[in-house]
């Protein structure tokens, strides 16, 4: 287990190092001058040169990368060009809302999807199964921003249950504000969980050890809950982890529709002003989050299935 963990961590560090370089190069290869965007059309060239020099943007790419990478080792993410503040200060408060939204969305999706997935498998090819599968397909096909707006129309504008957008001030305020976006996230994730759970549960239910368990006269609840579901969960967790990783960077749309001060909405605003240090740092943070989620998924296999002794 320890050896496995160490190996995974080394992998992660290598991936991050490559990611840092690629993130830095990508954004610098795309043309566009952050200083010109910041100072506007009428700014005299002398002012542009002066600010570019102050920000170190007139140095060679290699030296810029060296100072960026060097800063990372000291825990310094650089200074935001647009906001003129340390990137760490800009990013820090943005991480919480994004993670809370993801957690909340994942919980909602699991609460909905696990029972539906089990029902769907147990009543395979019967009306219940058909209805659940149609709902799952609709959920998967709906664009997130459209569904989000639909929720706002009903639950905010008509019923006034939730605010239209924002993040609130207290923990209760956060949860209240994040409910509609979390449902939007959940509706994206739930169909994937339902479909995967249904098919792997079906496979498991046909296995010999299930027949054996039933033959020994175990209650159906124990057969499904302890024997079948546990074995079927591995595939589901994998799918869930991949998609949460995808959602971390895909939260851009949901965060901007619901005006959540998270990482995704920050990415949109920083890209449009070519804020190089912030974009590079954001890419790193997204990379770290994806790696962490996948690592957690790997570890959870061992918990779910004791046979996996990594």
């Amino acid at each position: 287990m320890t050896a496995y963990l160490v190996r995974r961590l080394l992998h992660a560090v290598l991936v991050l190092a490559i990611l840092t370089l690629v993130a830095f190069m990508l954004i610098h290869l795309v043309p566009g001058d952050p200083v010109r965007i910041m100072l506007g059309a009428h700014a005299p060239p002398a002012a542009v040169r002066q600010v570019r020099h102050e920000l170190g943007l007139d140095r060679s790419l290699v030296r810029q990368f060296a100072s960026f990478a060097g800063g990372l080792f000291r825990g310094d993410l650089g200074t935001s060009i647009n906001l003129q503040r340390p990137v760490g200060e800009v990013l820090g408060p943005r991480i919480g809302p994004s993670i809370l939204l993801l957690l909340y969305g994942t919980v909602i999706s699991l609460v909905v999807a696990v029972p539906l997935g089990v029902l769907s498998a147990l009543y395979r090819n019967r009306p219940v199964d058909h209805v659940i599968r149609v709902l799952a397909t609709i959920g998967l096909a709906m664009p997130a921003f459209w569904f989000g707006l639909l929720l706002v129309e009903i639950f905010s504008l008509r019923l006034h249950f939730f605010p239209v957008a924002g993040y609130g001030d207290s923990l209760f305020g956060h949860l209240r504000s994040l409910t509609l976006p979390a449902v939007t996230v959940g509706v994206y994730l739930a169909p994937l969980v339902i479909r995967t759970l249904r098919s792997s549960l079906n496979e498991t239910l046909a296995a010999d050890f299930i027949t054996a368990a039933r033959a020994r006269g175990f209650e159906e609840r124990r057969v499904i809950g302890k024997h079948a579901l546990r074995n079927a969960l591995i595939a589901t967790v994998t799918i869930l982890a991949i998609n949460i990783g995808y959602l971390i960077s895909g939260s851009v749309v949901i965060e901007s529709v619901f005006n959540i001060p998270g990482l995704g909405s920050l990415l949109v605003s920083t890209i449009s002003v070519r804020d190089f240090p912030t974009i590079s740092a954001l890419t790193l943070v997204f990379g770290v989050l994806v790696i962490v989620v996948n690592l957690l998924a790997d570890l959870s296999y061992a918990l779910i299935d004791p046979r996996i002794r990594l």
């Binding site: 529709v257 619901f258 449009s272």
Partner: protein, 541 residues
């Protein structure tokens, strides 16, 4: 020329919001009570009449929640020139003179009056009794300190060209400021309204330095910044020492930063905010029904297609004129702006100096074909129009233009690029045709700034990178700018307007208005032509 009858028809057909009607009526020279009375008798619904009637008795108190698209970069008067910054700090600082709704002429601000002497080369400002938000009086020493920084291109590095005619500023006594000019400058008062000419307390700025001051700004404007959570909101409260008696009526203003258009609109509809800026044109009419309304107000901005006059075949004036004739602005206005834009009758806004008898090139495809036949490219040509990738309005506009130009044999390719990349390419002259910015704006409500920046032969901006030069237009610009005789200025600017439109260096299309969504409680809200708002006069019912 707009006249009262046009206004009446527009109002009764519902094409004109009430606030907008008042603004235009005031611009026509009507007094406020007279315009209000007209509105009451001409206005359609009962709500309109009721509103005009209660407008006279403002209520004090309340927080105005304002959903904004753009967040400031800084809160100091130097260091940024974006609308997120400018429109916010104009609520915090005062200038010697300032714009008011419905007027192109600078009105008394911290200066209660002034005299222009010495053949236009000396201006004596008399300061009013005003205080900064920390309670300290605004003195001539503060004004001198602030304006010395305004004319120092090392400090005011973004708009130094607005201060080039200032020779020196003296403060002979605490209530008097004397400004000496290098030459008479017809635009100088307008130039003193801009944000880098804001008056700041000398003692505080000197003690803190610019960076720290920008974090805790102190001005004599209507509001004081309380808290600013980046990416979320900026809260301001009333400046208790503000010099306009009884104002601001509001206890405070909260700017909420919401970049998604739909989210701003939903927040307005649900009543979570009172004001929402940058309403998409497609939603203006639907938001004008029910409890919300949209103020459509003219702005000092120009939209069009810039042509690279260095690039073949745009050296050829006949080609440029042909494209101007072939561009049906009225149709584009209907399709893209839902009729809310105003067709430009000049290369850029001329404000009160506009000669209203001048018309833009009318849509005339026959004339366009004749000009093309006589031109260097009678059979047509290929052209790539560069537009910002995130701008849906421009994409629609160019799709229409592509069809409109096809009969001339002009094959349009529309290329989208990310704003920053596009702008860099554009400013290197590396383009054929482009509509490069969301809107191209003037910082002042006189045509001098853009004329000086754009028409100077060999200047920095090369005719806003159209590479258009006209010696005649430049000498006229200098003549107009160095005159303080209003009648003379109007005459010369009229000549410039005609001459440059005739030369057709680019295709001016619209003066694009501001669209601001207002909740039912918001009273007396106006967007100034310069872009910001009269929040000190706004109140909530």
């Amino acid at each position: 020329m707009e006249n009262l009858d046009d206004l009446r028809v527009s109002l009764q057909e519902g094409r004109l919001a009430r606030g907008e009607f008042l603004r235009r009526a005031l611009a026509l020279g009507l007094s406020l009570p007279a315009a209000g009375a007209l509105l009451a008798s001409w206005g359609r619904g009962g709500a309109g009449i009721a509103q005009a009637a209660v407008a006279a008795t403002p209520k004090r108190g309340g927080i105005l929640k304002f959903a904004r698209n753009f967040e400031p970069v800084t809160l100091g008067p130097f260091g940024a020139a974006d609308n997120g910054t400018i429109w916010t700090i104009m609520m915090v600082y005062d200038q010697l003179v300032e714009y008011q709704p419905g007027s192109f002429d600078p009105k008394p601000g911290l200066a209660k009056s002034w005299e222009i002497t010495n053949g236009g080369k000396t201006i004596v400002f008399h300061l009013r009794d005003a205080r900064f938000s920390n309670g300290a009086p605004v003195t001539a020493a503060d004004v001198k300190f602030s304006l010395d920084r305004f004319k120092n291109p090392k400090v005011n590095n973004l708009l130094p060209f607005l201060a080039t005619t200032i020779a020196s500023v003296d403060a002979p006594n605490p209530k008097t400021v004397v400004m000496h000019l290098k030459r008479p400058d017809g635009a100088i008062l307008s130039n003193l309204t801009v944000f880098p000419a804001s008056i700041t307390p000398k003692a505080v700025v000197t003690k803190l330095g610019d960076k720290a001051f920008a974090r805790k700004p102190i001005g004599s404007g209507p509001f004081v910044v309380e808290t600013w959570v980046r990416g979320q909101y900026l809260k301001m409260k009333r400046n208790p020492h503000y010099w306009r008696p009884g104002q601001p009526y509001l206890d405070g203003v909260e700017f909420d930063y919401i970049t998604n258009d739909n989210t701003r609109i939903l927040k307005l509809q649900s009543g979570e905010v009172d004001v929402a800026e940058s309403i998409p044109f497609s939603q203006v009419d639907s938001l004008n029904k029910g409890a919300t309304r949209v103020e459509v107000a003219p702005l000092a901005s120009i939209d069009g297609i810039w042509l690279n006059n260095k690039h073949k075949p745009f050296q050829d004036k006949l080609v440029r004129q042909a494209l101007n004739y072939a561009t049906d602005k009225e149709s584009i206005n209907r399709v893209v702006y839902f009729g809310h834009a105003q067709v430009a009758n000049a290369l850029y806004p001329f404000f009160k100096y506009t000669d209203r008898s001048v018309k833009n090139y009318p849509y005339d495809i026959k004339k366009a074909k004749q000009l093309m036949a006589k031109s260097s490219v009678p059979k047509g040509f290929d052209v790539t129009i560069l537009i910002p990738s995130e701008d849906q309005t421009k994409a629609q506009m160019m799709a229409v233009v592509k069809q409109l130009w096809a009969p001339l044999g002009v094959r349009v390719k529309i290329q989208t690029m990310e704003t920053g990349a596009l702008f860099t390419k554009y400013m290197n002259g590396d383009y054929e045709a482009s509509d490069p910015l969301p809107s191209i704006t003037s910082d002042v409500l006189v045509p001098d700034e853009l004329a000086l920046a754009w028409l100077e032969p060999g200047g920095v901006q090369h005719g806003f990178w159209s590479y258009y030069t006209s010696k005649k237009a430049w000498s006229l610009t200098l003549a107009a700018n160095s005159s303080t005789d209003e009648a003379k200025r109007k005459k010369i600017f009229g000549q410039i307007q005609r001459l440059t439109l005739q030369d057709a260096p680019w295709i001016p299309m619209f003066f694009v208005p501001a669209r601001t969504g207002l909740g039912a409680k918001v009273q007396n809200f106006h967007t100034l032509e310069s872009g910001w708002w009269n929040l000190w006069e706004v109140w909530k019912s």
